[in-house]
């Protein structure tokens, strides 16, 4: 049998299942000394997903970076079919730019996948930041772009499950507001001695969440299963305290 016959077909095949994950990384100035660690951590995440064929078949990953502005560094796709780009440090810490781009990207990706006949499950967005938002209206932007008010029908009906991870100067009060939706959202804060420890612990949680969640799909009960921090990792986890009227 020739290799040609068994190579994966690249054309879209309707009915295939996709669980999308978005990794949104802070690349502001304060991350200057930590970019090698961040890049190594993302590569480790890639290796873990590629090492699990079932997960790699089901999960699609997108990487977004943000500072003063935000950009899609790796479009949504199968991890084994993409090279992970190196992230590099840029400007300030504008959360709103990340929220806006994430909402636009999810909306566009979902529409494309559905038009191709894929069965798409609700996305999960992992948001990593080491600092306080410099845009004072970040909460208003978050509510306006990535949340949904079921009673009024306003907002993003196709919102992701938004999972904030903070380290260094990222305020816990902010993280508590970003965990969404309120009934199942979790936030994480690393209180570790070093950023390297923090990023290693955070990527471990993301890795386990992607793998465990993707493995729920074939069993017929797809769910984003947010993982507990490892004991001794120095990372704490809490429930969402999202309040649309928070000021």
């Amino acid at each position: 049998m020739s290799e040609e016959r068994v190579r994966e077909r690249s054309e879209v095949e309707p009915g295939q299942i996709v669980m999308p994950f978005y990794l949104v990384c802070d690349v502001s100035y304060s991350m200057y000394g930590d970019m090698p660690t961040l890049n190594d951590s993302v590569q480790r995440l890639r290796r873990a997903i590629v090492g699990e064929p079932i997960v790699d078949d089901v999960a699609q990953i997108c990487i977004i970076s943000f500072s003063d502005s935000a950009k899609v560094m790796m479009p949504l796709g199968q991890m084994s079919e993409q090279a992970v780009p190196a992230l590099s440090v840029e400007g300030g810490t504008n959360y709103g730019e990340a929220f806006r781009l994430l909402a636009q990207t999810i909306t566009a990706d979902t529409a494309t996948l559905k038009s191709q006949g894929y069965k798409v499950y609700r996305p999960c967005a992992f948001f990593l930041s080491d600092g306080e938002p410099l845009d004072h209206d970040w909460h208003q932007t978050f509510t306006g772009t990535l949340t949904y008010d079921r009673a009024s029908g306003h907002g993003m009906k196709g919102h992701p499950i938004f999972v904030p991870f903070g380290f260094r100067d990222a305020p816990e009060a902010v993280l508590r507001q970003l965990a969404y939706p309120p009934e199942k959202g979790k936030w994480y804060k690393a209180r570790t001695a070093t950023v390297e420890q923090a990023l290693n612990g955070i990527i471990d949680i993301i890795m386990k969440t992607v793998i465990t969640s993707s493995m729920t799909v074939p069993g017929g009960k797809p769910a984003v299963v947010q993982q507990q921090p490892a004991p001794g990792s120095g990372i704490v986890q809490g429930d969402s305290e999202y309040d649309p009227d928070w000021a």
């Binding site: 068994v6 994966e8 095949e13 009915g15 790699d56 078949d57 006949g117 196709g158 017929g220």
Partner: protein
């Protein structure tokens, strides 16, 4: 759904000797089919990865196969699908083929036992003359009792202890070249008719909500044991073709893909040998790695087949 069986694709998969996927695929098999190894012997001992049956009765040629999915294989868990086949002869009502297909609910650890119990008891009760609503209600209570026993026993302390299953069951006979019968179901296991024009028609209902909320897909199934033990049911009379009871491991890709409809219509326009049938039931398709079970019923044309 009308399909062109000439569009069927049944490529063989190049998988190493440590893998255990079917050699049949429809479309891209996915990395899982090529790379997930057979793995260690699973518990409970004696619970086979694949079971298959072949039978003929009263003008009906029967093939049944249930196959462990790659998902359960990767997790070291047993197959949670099951099927059973039986028959009934009654002087006033003719000869009937009886079949049931069940899909254990994956989130509960003992659901393989629920699927086995439900499929066998539904067929036994129907063979003894019980109407489907009574049979389903009876089996509902038997599964409830078995689940309670698990929870009372040592297994009750384990996370995910318990059992539940979907079920579709049918009694069928041939009458003047037609299929005549009654199908009953709970959950998302289904009965399909493949007609002579290669068109697939869902005969049972689909007791689930897996088409989502207009934004994303999701899945919700009502299994048994349920609060009231009721099932949905309908009588049917269908001309020509073949009938297939199946779990959602096959029915979902069938519903969602013209390629799958075409391939299965091509493969099953006539009854394959039982071993080929089992391998076809387990066809590889990227992201579709659940357990698979199908009971197929074709007209028995005797030695001319």
């Amino acid at each position: 759904m009308s399909v062109d069986p000439s569009a069927a694709r049944g490529d063989e998969i190049l998988a190493g000797p440590r893998a255990a996927a079917s050699p049949f695929s429809i479309g891209a098999p996915g990395r899982a089919a090529r790379e997930v190894p057979a793995g260690p012997p699973g518990a409970p001992s004696g619970h086979a990865d694949v079971e298959l049956s072949a039978a003929t009765w009263a003008g009906v040629l029967i093939r049944g196969a249930t196959c462990r999915g790659l998902h359960h294989r990767a997790l070291g868990e047993p197959r949670q699908d099951a099927f059973a086949i039986g028959h009934r002869s009654c002087p006033e009502g003719g000869d009937w083929v009886i079949a049931a297909v069940c899909d254990g609910v994956g989130s509960l650890r003992q659901s393989d036992a629920a699927a086995t119990l439900a499929s066998r008891r539904l067929v036994d009760l129907a063979a003894a003359g019980k109407p489907w609503p009574e049979g389903f209600a009876h089996v509902n209570e038997e599964i409830r009792a078995a689940a309670e026993e698990v929870l009372r026993g040592r297994g009750g302390a384990e996370p995910g202890a318990g059992m539940a299953t979907t079920a579709v069951a049918a009694r069928v006979r041939r009458e003047e070249g037609d299929w005549v019968g009654e199908v009953a179901w709970i959950g998302d296991s289904t009965l399909w008719h493949l007609d002579a024009g290669s068109r697939w028609t869902l005969i049972s209902g689909l007791d689930c909500g897996d088409d989502g909320d207009d934004e994303y897909s999701w899945s919700r199934v009502r299994p048994m044991p349920s609060a009231d033990g009721t099932c949905a049911s309908r009588e049917f009379r269908l001309a020509g073709g073949a009938l297939f009871l199946m779990t959602d491991g096959v029915a979902n890709p069938l519903r969602w893909s013209d390629d799958v409809q075409a391939a299965l219509a091509g493969w099953w326009a006539a009854p394959p040998d039982p071993f080929t049938f089992a391998a076809q039931v387990a066809f590889a398709r990227r992201t579709h790695i659940d357990d698979r079970t199908v009971v197929g019923l074709w007209p028995d044309k005797g030695d001319l087949e």
